[in-house]
């Protein structure tokens, strides 16, 4: 940067020099001479007089040996590493400057005289709509880099051109995603995508471009644009941002983007949130934000805006992760060290995504460091984690490998409960990512991921589940206006139970689903106010819903295989981000999705106008391989708009709808490893959702405070729920157990964030409700009288506070407080006599609630010092989870003991859990 500044200084000076007579040459030599003395020496040898404030030069010493050198060159050298500039006024006066305000008084046509510039210098006088250079009230143009882009075409009538390029980290060479790129005074702005690419429509001529991003030093660049062109920003990391808790990646985004309900979480920014067992976790950070909740501690799966846990599309580098958690949700399956950022769409979902109703968690891995070998590791009480990055082809290709494993067995061993101390539990996950910039038009990325959990609670059973995904991405730039990206991905989720007990009922049970997706997406920036995004996607699902086999020769369990299901989900999508005027930005998206349930398979046909059960079964139809069993589909509207009420105050509204063709079968409130996924078929219709949201966004004191208030209303159709007493696992005729009904959810989300200062953090409050209605003319298909009832995760009040206080640059403390209304449950409420015995009878579905949930976590963090040359940067974190020792019931259940029914509540962490973690980075 410094060097460029110097060049710029020279450029400015020389412009002036052209109009001058020769600058005198001098011979002079300095060795660590105080600057004032040096200037005095120059004064002595020339006719020049210097004008400056002594304060500016107080500490400055200069060194240099000049023989017959022009004075301006001498000064350039002397002031090279300083903030000083100079100005040769006429033949005898030199003004030293700490800024270049002096240019304010330059004539308007200063650069405009064609005879004073080189041939390729712009003919500014031909451009009516640009002002003179360096006009403005900037007092900071000293550091301004100026770049000329393109060659002017005199025949062109165009007044705007496209500028595109990449934002790169100057140190690591890695792309910087989600960097705000703003054109000063012109209400033009964009942000870089996940690969650091951006594209902007700019008016011809001079533009001052500011970039802002978290962890990145702010930059200002002057771009003089003559034609379409590209420019890469080389940006420095900002040291200050390193230990701040910031969740928003882009400070202006809150107000600026057109879409509602979007949140960006950057892993680097969440490390001070106190978390359980020393893991910093992007998904756990997500639940501190309004609208995203889990059913409780230890529950895996997220409920977004009153949606079910299966309605979230969780993508890791564009591949789907089916079970995003380890260890029943205590840890997320996403390695925090390899994760770059997570973008969560809970309101408006861009047209390029589809297939799930409630949200998209678009998690992107970091790009590997192409410059040098580096790594990061952490040691915690339960897990250890290491990530290594190495260049393969310097500056072009690099590989990152990350792995995480647990040694949680000792925790179980150390527990008093004998049964628990005999159990084992372990998990690991590995991720490898390769990124290769082939040339400026082609970029290749490949990610492989595998996670596996295995646990055994008693000696006779072993459970395991795993996620596996592979994704391949190729970004290609066809022209400055058109880019395309191809994604191929495959992911698989499976679980298994091995039961090896004393008697002859040992079994081995398995479940698996696999999906393969092809997606091609193009972006086209035609110039003007439109920006198009369109493409096609197609996904093949293969589900093996379950099989059970005898384990060992003595087992009398008979083998059973539930037939495989297949389905093809395809979509075409197009969206246009249209800037109607300075204030109004509309994001119009349309997606048409189409689903075909494919054979080979069996489908049961039931009588019309009768409840589905074994008695109303008419026949079983056989379908051949690839024969279409049933098709579903429809248009999905994704419309969102932003309107500026004031420069830092906007209102946004969106309406959207979606279809979902794959459903989990789970009557637990939480995701458990025995949840299976079921494809839509002849009997099970796709789920649908319709959402409208409206929000107000206001930033105060130059983005120091961010305030947002967002409301939504959502209706859902064909939600999958279950008949009372439903059995889901290994059930061939699952449609006899499920019901499809309507959902209704609404809520108001309030969030205030303080982004800067010693004390920063956020406070969120959500009021939301979520209901389900299961009505039918048949008793067995009607729940709660066919009226709306609270869903399993209807938690009206949700307060979340994350606060971080920095004592010094190295020491900080954080606190996290959560309060939530207890979730609804169905209790047994009494007994009755029937058929010569006693039975329990249950309340209406979800009639009661478990006690409210609240929890306070604290942590204290210490960073190693920031010496640049140090081998490794270290970070200590000491945290206490659940400081108040609140015994938050996770679940309430009932067992029959000695003929009496007793209620028990289970909690995961009923006591404060202290954790110490050591991280280091090299």
């Amino acid at each position: 940067m410094k060097k460029i500044m110097t060049v710029f200084m020279l450029f400015m000076s020389m412009q002036y020099v052209f109009a001058q007579t020769e600058v005198p040459r001098i011979s002079v030599s300095f060795t660590n001479t105080p600057a004032e003395d040096a200037l005095a020496e120059i004064e002595r040898k020339t006719s020049y007089k210097f004008f400056y404030l002594s304060d500016w030069l107080k500490e400055l010493r200069v060194t240099g040996n000049f023989q017959d050198t022009p004075v301006n060159t001498v000064l350039d050298n002397l002031f090279e590493d300083t903030v000083l500039n100079y100005f040769i006024m006429d033949s005898d006066r030199i003004y030293l400057l700490q800024n270049n305000q002096i240019y304010d008084s330059l004539p308007d046509d200063f650069f405009g005289a064609p005879d004073k510039v080189e041939d390729d210098f712009p003919q500014y006088d031909q451009l009516q709509d640009i002002g003179p250079l360096f006009v403005g009230n900037d007092d900071n143009n000293r550091g301004l880099e100026t770049v000329k882009i393109g060659r002017e075409n005199r025949n062109s009538r165009r007044r705007t051109f496209t500028l595109n390029g990449k934002a790169l980290n100057a140190r690591t060479g890695q792309p910087i995603p989600d960097l705000a790129i703003i054109v000063e005074g012109k209400d033009i702005g964009t942000s870089t995508n996940a690969n650091g690419n951006y594209s902007l429509e700019l008016p011809i001529g001079e533009n001052i471009i500011t970039t802002r991003g978290l962890g990145i030093e702010e930059s200002r660049t002057q771009i003089i644009l003559y034609n379409d062109g590209s420019y890469n920003f080389q940006l420095n990391e900002s040291v200050e941002a390193l230990d701040e808790v910031v969740v928003q990646g882009n400070i202006d985004r809150n107000v600026e983007t057109a879409i509602t309900g979007v949140t960006l979480i950057e892993v680097e920014k969440i490390k001070n949130i106190p978390l359980v067992l020393g893991e910093r976790d992007v998904l756990k950070a997500a639940v501190t934000l309004p609208g995203i909740t889990t059913a409780g501690e230890g529950a895996s799966g997220y409920n977004v805006r009153g949606g079910r846990t299966d309605q979230n599309l969780i993508l890791l580098d564009n591949g789907v992760i089916y079970n995003p958690s380890h260890f029943f949700g205590i840890f997320s399956a996403i390695n925090p060290f390899t994760t770059g950022s997570a973008e969560i769409y809970k309101g408006h979902i861009p047209a390029q995504f589809g297939g799930r109703l409630s949200s998209v968690f678009d998690i992107t891995s970091k790009d590997a460091n192409t410059e040098k070998f580096s790594g990061e590791a952490s040691i915690g009480p339960v897990t250890s984690n290491i990530v290594l990055e190495t260049p393969i082809i310097k500056d072009k290709a690099a590989l990152m490998v990350g792995g995480r494993a647990t040694y949680s067995d000792w925790i179980l061993d150390s527990l008093d409960d004998e049964q628990l101390s005999n159990s084992t539990a372990s998990f690991f996950d590995v991720l490898a990512k390769y990124n290769h910039t082939i040339n400026e038009n082609n970029e290749l990325k490949a990610t492989g991921y595998f996670s596996r959990d295995e646990f055994s609670i008693t000696s006779d059973s072993i459970f395991n589940y795993s996620n596996r995904l592979v994704s391949l991405g190729w970004d290609h730039k066809f022209s400055d206006k058109t880019t395309g990206s191809l994604v191929l991905s495959n992911s698989e989720y499976q679980f298994g139970i091995e039961f090896d007990g004393e008697s002859n009922d040992d079994f081995d049970l398995g479940y698996k689903n696999n999906e393969t997706e092809f997606k091609y997406r193009m972006r086209y920036l035609p110039g003007g106010k439109h920006s198009f995004d369109f493409g096609i996607a197609s996904k093949l699902y293969v589900v093996d819903p379950g099989n059970i086999d005898p384990l060992g020769t003595d087992s009398d369990v008979s083998s059973l295989v539930i037939p495989r299901e297949r389905g093809l989900e395809s979509a075409v999508f197009i969206s246009d981000s249209y800037e109607v005027n300075d204030k109004l930005l509309i994001d119009m998206g349309l997606r048409f999705s189409f689903y075909a349930a494919l054979g080979a398979g069996q489908q049961r046909i039931y009588q019309d106008n009768a409840p589905r059960n074994s008695g109303t079964l008419v026949e079983t139809q056989e379908f051949d391989d690839n024969e279409v069993i049933e098709t579903y589909g429809g248009p999905e509207v994704r419309l969102s708009a932003r309107y500026f009420l004031a420069p830092d105050f906007s209102v946004k509204a969106s309406v959207n709808n979606a279809f979902q063709y794959i459903h989990t079968l789970s009557n637990n409130t939480t995701v458990s490893p025995t949840d299976t996924w079921k494809l839509s078929d002849l009997n099970i219709k796709p789920q649908e959702a319709y959402q409208a949201s409206l929000g107000f966004y206001k930033n105060f004191e130059g983005n120091k405070y961010e305030l947002s208030l967002e409301g939504y209303y959502k209706e859902q159709r064909n939600l999958l729920d279950y008949k009372v007493g439903a059995q889901l696992l290994l059930n061939e005729a699952i449609e006899q157990e499920v019901l499809q009904g309507d959902g209704q959810a609404y809520g108001v989300e309030f969030l205030i964030k303080k982004n800067e200062g010693k004390l920063n953090g956020w406070l969120g409050y959500t009021y939301s409700r979520s209901f389900v209605k299961l009505d039918s003319e048949f008793n067995e298909e009607r729940v709660n009288n066919g009226e709306f009832f609270p869903s399993n995760f209807d938690k009206p009040h949700d307060i979340s506070l994350v606060a971080n206080y920095k004592f010094t640059r190295r020491f900080s403390a954080s606190a996290n407080f959560v309060y939530q209304t207890g979730r609804p449950v169905t209790f047994p409420i009494g007994s009755f006599a029937f058929n010569n015995s006693e039975f329990v009878f249950y309340s209406d579905r979800n009639k009661f609630r478990i006690p409210d949930y609240y929890r306070l976590d604290l942590s204290f963090n210490m960073e190693g010092n920031h010496k640049i040359k140090k081998f490794a940067h270290s970070f200590w974190s000491f945290s206490i989870y659940n400081v108040l020792g609140r015994n938050n019931p996770y679940s309430v259940f009932f067992v029959t003991e000695d003929g009496d029914i007793k209620a028990f509540q289970s909690s995961i962490f009923a006591i404060p859990v202290p954790t110490i973690t050591y991280n280091f980075k090299f």
Partner: protein, 399 residues
Amino acid sequence: MHSFGKHKIKFSVLSALLIASCIEPFNAVFTDFESALVIEATITNEVKQQEILLSRSFEFDADGPISEPNANVRIVDSGGNTFSFSDQGNGLYLSEESFGAQPGVDYQLLVTTSDGRDYNSDQTPLKTGTGIEQITAERIVNNDGQDGMAILVDSFDPSGNSKNYRYEYEETFRVIAPSWQPVKLVPETEFGCTMILVRNNDLAQVCYETNNSNQIIQTSTEDLDEDRVENFMVRFISRQNYIISHRYSILVRQFVQSDEAFNFYSTLKELSSSESLFSQTQPGFLQGNVFSSENSEERVLGFFDVSTVSEQRLFFNYDDFYPGEDLPPYIDPCQTSSPVIANEGGCVLRPIIEIGAGVYAGDSGAEPGSNQGPYLIVRRICGDCSVLGPQEIPEFWIE
């Protein structure tokens, strides 16, 4: 319908343990407990006085069940006939006249409780179907590795209409009190502690105990190629169970159920299995086909089923299957003791005999003063089987 019930419970409980690093009693407060009417009614094609049971649900810690007296109970059929029922006490209502359900006729149960509330069932037709082909008894080793007797049912419906079968049984067996003596102890005088032996003519040596099934026993032929029930085990009796010690008889009753009734019973059974964190059973209020006529919010439990019934009985002796083998242990280990006649506190033996806690089982031969009495005493059940059942031979009994 395949289900995965067998392994489910173990699996559920185990899973709960892992997560539940803290499990403690939860004081559930059921503030709005409202006792619900429970209707248990199975009307059959058999011409007899039909039975209906009315009771009320009760809280967990309360004693139950509570019968529902003085209700007006009647069944109206689609032919316009009304069958009235009268309260027999203990919640049992019997039809005033004998009748059997007819095919092609819809029946509706109407109940008006003593507080004036009206309840009704859906219109329910008779589910027609086949009768039991045969029942057999067989010595087997069951899936848990236990030796014992299986009672198996065969049934076949060539028309394929029956499909849903529910079973009840009533088992009657001969019990012989192992410690029975021809003499018994009685007090010698009105007030003294001394006991004397007299001829025993009231304590029973041989009795006939009867038990009813209390499980929901169902099978379906839905998934089978033909509507045939073959060797379906309605009852398993462990070889260690005293009930098969001598002669055993079982009456198996088969009900052919409608789909709705079958689902109600099977779901009820499902819900009564262990419920915990990872269980895969969806809990909730189980709605049958009986409702409050006025208030759709009021919960009514139970079911009104109209089904085809058939029954068969069989007998077997222990010797038929376990010739020469030891008898199963008696219901009680029959440990003897020798309480003293009296001590400083007063009479000891006399009250034990008088309240019927123990009976005479022989002489102890103990020396007087050795802190033991002269007689061997056992628990009453060992010397008097009338605790278990009547001495009279049942009418149906065949030797």
